[in-house]
Structure formats: structure tokens, C-alpha cells
Amino acid sequence: MTRVVVDPLTRIEGHLRLSTEVNENGVITDAQSSGMLFRGFERILVNRDPRDAARITQRVCGVCPTSHAMASGNALDDLFGIADQIPKDALVARNIIQGLNMIASHATHIYVLWLPDIVNPAYRDVLATIGETGNALWKELLYRFAPISYRIDGVSIPPGKAYVNAIKEKKRLQEAIAIIAGKMPHQMSSILGGVTYRPNVADIGKLASYYYEVMDFVDSSTLGVDHGTWLHNTFQASSPQNAVKFVVEHLQELVDKSLLSNDFSHSAGWGDVELLAAFGCELIGETLLGLPASLKLDRTGGYDSNSSVGFLTYGVYYDVENGDGYDPLEFGKTGFQKAAFITNSLEHQKFDHRNVTEEISHSFYTGEDNLHPFDGVTEPVIDADEINYSGNDQSKYSWMKAPRYKGVPCEVGPLARMIAMEEPLTMGLIKSFTDNGYSAANTFTRMVARVQEMLIISEQLRKWITSDLDPNGRFSVPADLNMAKDSQGIGLWEAPRGALGHWVKTGSDSKITNYQMVVPTTWNSSPRDKNGIPGPIEQALIGTKVSAVENLLGIDNSNPTGIYHAARSYDPCIACAVHTIDLTKENGRNKRVFDIV
């Protein structure tokens, strides 16, 4: 038995420590996921004017601050009792701001944080075993997905084309958000009662042009077919089976053409998604298409068949077809992405926020256990001796609490949202995987769900911008601080990474008496609960093989691709840290080489 610890896990947001036990067969048998930063915003907010919460809570994160502004805004609309009056055009503007951020965040995760994983040198060695095709494929992967400052065996690799272009898109999308929300990160527009900015016709024109630029990137990189064709045959397919059939037949055509020429370029029809689907996935690539090898991403990051992990989403985006106002308690009941709790056997249940609780038995907190967020407390342990990373029955090993829905640990994020909306491609893939003995949720389905959601939201965004937003509409309703006396509010929303809830209570002076946030990565990266049941990432790690392609070329604990893939597929987001430049490194010629920490 070997202990393999990844601390910090890089290419994510913030500081996450993953500690695993790996047996002599290279299989992970135990795992602890530890959030290493104390957030503490709940304590900052107590005794403040509640209206400031939508500004302050954004500072939790520089990547998905928008979602915190929205969740907080919803909680405040509810707290002040005006959610049913928020003008439709304010809701459209909020949808647009969130949609742009969702696409930017997904593109960043897919291209900057996750895809560099598949240019791990282990895959060069695996692909080399299938000869010329493998070598040609490896070159194509490097050409597209190599990250900045990448070196293999001391040789510098230029940054990949898709990687660089995705950063360009992310940068443009930040500008797009700033057009109607002042600035990004930490936009200034969405507030209690609506939005502060009334978009004009020129803004709408500009936003539309940003949409077209994103779609140009999608068509010239992400997909090998036009995005309209892709969505028509997958998202709008007549059945899940037909969605999968379209993808497999499309891939078969590409494979037949390219296996002789060894041309895997975009001009030969290979979008990034096609490459990932054919060569990343054992079931599609090897079983259905008959390819000689794949990266077997569908074999990593799955749950054991006895696992209880469910899927949870609160629903996101206002249903602007309904005109003004929304119901914060029935949020996600109608509209585009619906709320649901889905059990491990994929049974859909109606979501009720009262079933959300947070446990602290394995977290660095004290106080009463298993509280609903309205009554939640955030009291850190005082005695450092209580901290113990072993993961045994008693140990406290994370700054994250353990959220549970009806006592069940839940995976949140694009996959949960796609299941809740019964997206045909996702459901078809899940059925194929479960029929063939795979876990429905795995590294591959999580990544496909994220790409698919990015495409679906792009189309939805076009509608919000070009048909729903009326620059002559109303964009806010007034609210007086007295309306928040002895009140409470619930803000349910979705961040790119999953279900996000804010719960706020106020006293007789309208000041905040309690504020609790339950954020997506706390669900995914949760520690064990009082029954010893591990969180989703912990369960996904257990049973995963530690090295590339199911340890095909042996066990390499120093390059645990299984841990990287499984954990990063959830797009974990912890928080901010310090950065400085370190000048201590010297190279052979005694010239300073700057190293950055």
C-alpha cells in the first residue's frame, strides 16, 4: 500500500489537497479531499447592511463571482419580499450576464485547466504503442492542447492553438460582461431589485457580435461540424439513442477517412470534441468504433455500483417567458434549466431546499452538526491538535463542511444539470455506459456534459440578447431597508461548477444576523459525514487506477493521472492565494532563470 498525496492539486482554483492510498495493483483504495482555505465570508457579513452582500460575496472568487452576485441577489429579492416584482428585462439582463460568465468559465476549464491533462507524456508513450496513428494523434494533441510554458523532457513545447484561442475567447467574454455590468470580475450591475444598467441598442449589437465570435471559435476548434448541425442532432435529437447514434456515425465517418491518412486535423473534420470522444473514451473509441487504443477516460472518476452519490441542481436562469417576477422557492420549476434531486439510480425527485444540511464531523469546525443553512454556524476549531488528515473515524481534515441532501452526498455541476434537463446526448451516453457496466458519471461524461452545456447556453444567450432584451423595458424596482426587518431570504442559483445557495436572516434593525453560503465545490469535494460516507470526489477517486490508461504501462505513483483526471473533471474551485515571483533558480550557465511560485 502506498500513500499518494497531491498537495496542492494544480490547475484548479485555490488550494485542494488530495490524499490517497494506492494498492499494489495501482488501484486507489482510499481517498481524503481537503479544502485548505478558510473562507470566513459568513462571519464578515454578520451585522452588515444586507444590500452589500451581493457585492461582498462576489469576492469569494475571481472566476465565478457572477454566480455569487446572482445567488445573493436572489436571497435579497426574497429577503425584501420583492422577488415577484423584478422586471422581466432585469431578469433577462441577469441571465445574459450569467450566461456569458458560464461560457467563459466552461471554456477556461475545458481548455486551460483540463485539456492540458491529455498532453501528459504518459499518453505519448501509450499512443506510441499503436504506431504511426498514435504518433500522429499525439502530435495533433500537442498542437492543440499544450499549455503555456510546457516542457516535456526539458524540451519547450509551444502553447497549443486551441489553448491560446480559448484564452482569447475568455478575454473577449470578460469584455462582453463589462458592456452591461460595468466590469469583470466582480461586476457591479446585478443588485437587489434588478440591475443598475439599462442596456442600449448599441450594447445589444455589441453583445450579439461577441456571441458570433464565440461561435466562430466553436466552429473552428471545438466542433468538426457546424454548431447548428451538432445541436440539432444531439440536444434536439428525437431520443437519447438517436443523439448517440448521430455522434457515433459521425465519428465512424471521420475514423474511416483518417486511419489511412493519419490526418487528425480540424480541416479533416476533427473538432476537439470529436478527438476527445473517439480517442478519450474506451466505450466509444475501442468498443463501438474498433480503434486500437483510447485514453479510457470513461474508466476514471466513476462511482462504485454501491455508491449512494446523487445529483443535485437548484435550476438556473429566470424564466423570462413568464414576464415580471419569479418565485425564489420554486426557482427552477419552469424555464430553461430545472431544479432536481436525482438519486444514484437516476430517479428524479422534486427539489426542496429544506432537505439541505451541512455536517461538520470531519471538518475544521465546531458546534452543532447537521444544520440547515438558515441555522448554520461557521465556527472554526481553535485547537490545531484536532486537525488530522488520516481520515479515520474521528479525524477532522478539511475546511469544507459536508453538505448532504436528505443525508446523501451529491455531485453538482454540468453533468447534474444535463441529467436534470434530460439532455438527450448526456442521457444517451449515460445509458450506453450503464448498459455496459460503467459508472454513469465518469471523467468523460463530466467533460462532455460541460462542452454540451457551453454550446446549449450559447444558443440560449443569442435568444436573450437578440429577442428578449428590450432596452425600453424596466430594469429595477425600488426597495427600502425597512422592508428587510426580521426577515429571511433564500438565493438558489447555479455557478458553472454547480448548485450554489445563499441563505440570509436579518434582525429588527434590518442588519444581517446570519448568512450562510453552500457552494458547489463544497458538495463535490466534501469530506466524510458522521456515518463515514465519503464525498463525491473521494468516492470517484476510490477504485480509479492511479496511472494512465488503467496502468497500461505500469504503475507510476509520481504521475498519478487517475487522480488528476478524476478530481479536475469536477472543475474544483477553492479560493484565492498569494503569488510572488521566485528568482532563486539558476541554470547551468549561471544566468538567472526566473521561477514563479
Binding site: 482554483e13 475571481g62 478575454k171 492565494a577 510572488t580 541554470n587 544566468k591 538567472r592 526566473f594 514563479i596
Partner: protein, 162 residues
């Protein structure tokens, strides 16, 4: 206000919550106090730990001066003046989170995806304390902020003359 002189933008980088790492931010705050004495075409930005968002801040400025903390090359308080060529050899120590994308990486990405400012200068200040939660600079460091300010003012004068 309409201007035809080139924009000079000064970016202070760092996290002011962890002591000396925030030296760039302290410099920006001090420059803000001097704002009336600075030419109109100078923009001051607290760039914090913005990572890739610094890409947007390099847009539409002819000249850019960046102030960041640096560690390990000399005595506390040494101020290094780098051009973009000087940090090309730098590479991230694999601590690549979006928040922690280092300045060298961001500038390297910028060269791939956008038009760079005509002139880019980085003042890297050798710092002492970056592992303690503190809003203040260490005692030693406070004195060096004035030196950085003087260097920036010299730089601004040189830019005006050129």
C-alpha cells in the same frame, strides 16, 4: 476627456492581505495620493491577483509599468527593472491555478494573442514577509515603497522626453 497623447498605464499586482506580497498595491495607493502631480495620460490600476484578467488591462495602452513582488534574488528591498525579454525565461513552478497564473505566464500568453504595448517595464521588488496574514508591509519594506515611487516618476519623465 479627449486626449491625443499615448496612455501610460501603471499596474500594481499582488495580494495586500499577505503582507509584502501587496507591495505593488501599496505603490498604487501612494501614486493615487500623488495623482494631481501625475500627467493626465497616466492611469493607475490595482490589478490585485487578477491572473489572466491582466490580459484585458494590457489593452489600449502604449506604455505599461507593472509593479510586483519578487523573492529570492538579492537583498530585501532590491528593486529589479525588467523588460519583457528578461522574464521570457521564467516559467511557472506548476502552481498554475487561474488565480495564481504568474505574471510571466500572463505576459507570455499576451504575446500570443494580442498586440503588446510599445513599452513594458516591470519593477520587481524583493520582499520579505509573504506567509503571514497582514494588511501592512513589513517595517523594512515601507521604506522601499518611496524608492519605487521615485523610480516610477523617473520612468514617467523619461517616457515624456522620448
Amino acid at each position: 476627456m479627449w486626449r491625443d497623447d499615448p496612455t501610460i498605464r501603471i499596474l500594481g499586482c499582488g495580494n495586500p492581505l499577505v503582507g509584502d506580497d501587496g507591495v505593488g498595491i501599496h505603490v498604487i495607493e501612494r501614486l493615487n495620493e500623488l495623482h494631481s502631480e501625475l500627467p493626465d495620460n497616466v492611469e493607475l490600476i490595482d490589478a490585485g491577483v487578477c491572473g489572466l484578467d491582466i490580459l484585458n488591462m494590457l489593452e489600449n495602452a502604449e506604455k505599461v509599468i507593472i509593479i510586483d513582488a519578487v523573492k529570492g534574488a538579492g537583498n530585501i528591498g532590491s528593486i529589479h527593472r525588467f523588460g519583457i525579454e528578461d522574464i521570457k525565461g521564467a516559467r511557472s513552478n506548476s502552481v498554475l491555478s487561474i488565480h495564481e497564473t504568474c505574471l510571466a505566464d500572463v505576459l507570455c500568453i499576451a504575446e500570443h494573442i494580442q498586440k503588446m504595448p510599445e513599452k513594458l517595464i516591470i519593477f520587481a521588488v524583493e520582499v520579505e514577509m509573504t506567509d503571514e496574514i497582514s494588511l501592512c508591509l513589513s517595517h523594512k519594506m515601507q521604506a522601499y515603497v518611496d524608492e519605487v515611487i521615485d523610480l516610477i516618476l523617473d520612468e514617467l519623465r523619461a517616457m515624456k522626453a522620448s
